[in-house]
Symmetry: C2
Subunit: 198 residues, 2 copies
């Protein structure tokens, strides 16, 4: 009935994500995104509404994908729970170190730039953080059931601590910490988690 879109919405969102991620919200121009995608500005505005709405969309997708990815890394049976936790912590350190452009995490970057003045971004960031904490808590509880972490520890508290360490690793990575430093933090963090008395 009507003229179909020539572009793939998902692909445009990915390109926009790259731009916002590299440059931040304020420093990214809609025309950058238009050029990068080959679209005209009219199409961009027609499809997404405006800069703020486009960013919200990108930010939402990003938060969702981060939570999904972590969920895939942390969910599983009790026997491998500690291995999954360990792998996840090291993976974050390695990923942060590998991010030579020091872009960090769009979740952190977007929240840092906009959360104070944009309630939507703030809410979404909060929800994502809570979801990450819940995933960590679930895995730590599994570790406890399997005897890999002291049973008398509060899994929620440990999860909060691990989450803080992970966010801290990203923050330090953005500040230019070396890969050794970051993997060292990961190792130390895992080492200090309370093990069951034997």
């Amino acid at each position: 009935m009507a003229r179909p879109r020539k572009f793939d919405e998902q692909q445009v969102l990915e390109t926009a994500r790259e731009r916002f991620w590299s440059g931040g919200y304020a420093a990214t121009r809609m025309e950058d995104i238009a050029e990068a995608t080959g679209l005209g500005k009219g199409s961009l505005y027609g499809a997404f509404g405006g800069k703020q709405e486009l960013f919200h969309r990108v930010f939402d997708d990003y938060c969702g994908s981060v939570v999904d990815a972590v969920s895939r890394q942390l969910r599983g049976n009790d026997a491998d729970a500690y291995a999954r936790l360990s792998a996840h912590v090291y993976a974050v350190a390695a990923a942060t170190a590998a991010d030579t452009a020091h872009r960090g995490c769009l979740l952190a970057k977007g929240a840092a730039e906009l959360a104070e003045h944009d309630e939507t971004v703030a809410r979404r960031a909060r929800a994502a953080i809570e979801a990450l904490q819940a995933l960590l808590e679930g895995d730590i509880a599994a570790c406890q059931r399997n005897g890999d972490i002291a049973a008398d520890a509060d899994p929620g508290k440990l999860a909060a601590l691990v989450l803080a360490v992970l966010r801290g690793i990203e923050a330090l990575g953005k500040a230019g910490a070396s890969e050794e430093t970051l993997t060292g933090i990961a190792r130390t963090a895992l080492a200090v988690l309370p093990r069951p008395a034997r």
Copy 2:
């Protein structure tokens, strides 16, 4: 010989800091700062050169003052080293929780927005982080000498971990974590530090 300045440079820097801190670099206009200080734009440019230079100046001062403040909190005799460490960790959690505007730390916010594309900011942030780590390491070593932390632990590694936790607390605070969560993280972090075997 010449007309003297009517304004206090330090006071202008403080006002500029407030603006950059609240709005970020890109979203803050020079005219905002001019209005907030009561200065004309010409004076501002005459005294500080331009927006980027003004920000560098503000950022430098901020980093220096943060390092100074932490230095005052952490330096001292060995006997009180652990108390100082503990007080510092709790203080960061409390300060982050008290920051209801979720502005976080200008060091983190500025680095997040600009470090990728501004080498000066990146260098300054890195230097500040290294200084903080060194201060923590010094205090932790003092704790070890006093028998408050296991002597066989690597103080550098522990300092890096604590630093990551502190930066993580700030990141989570910006994402909207509650005061209980943040002080809980502080408590848990202190609790998992290795104590000497007795």
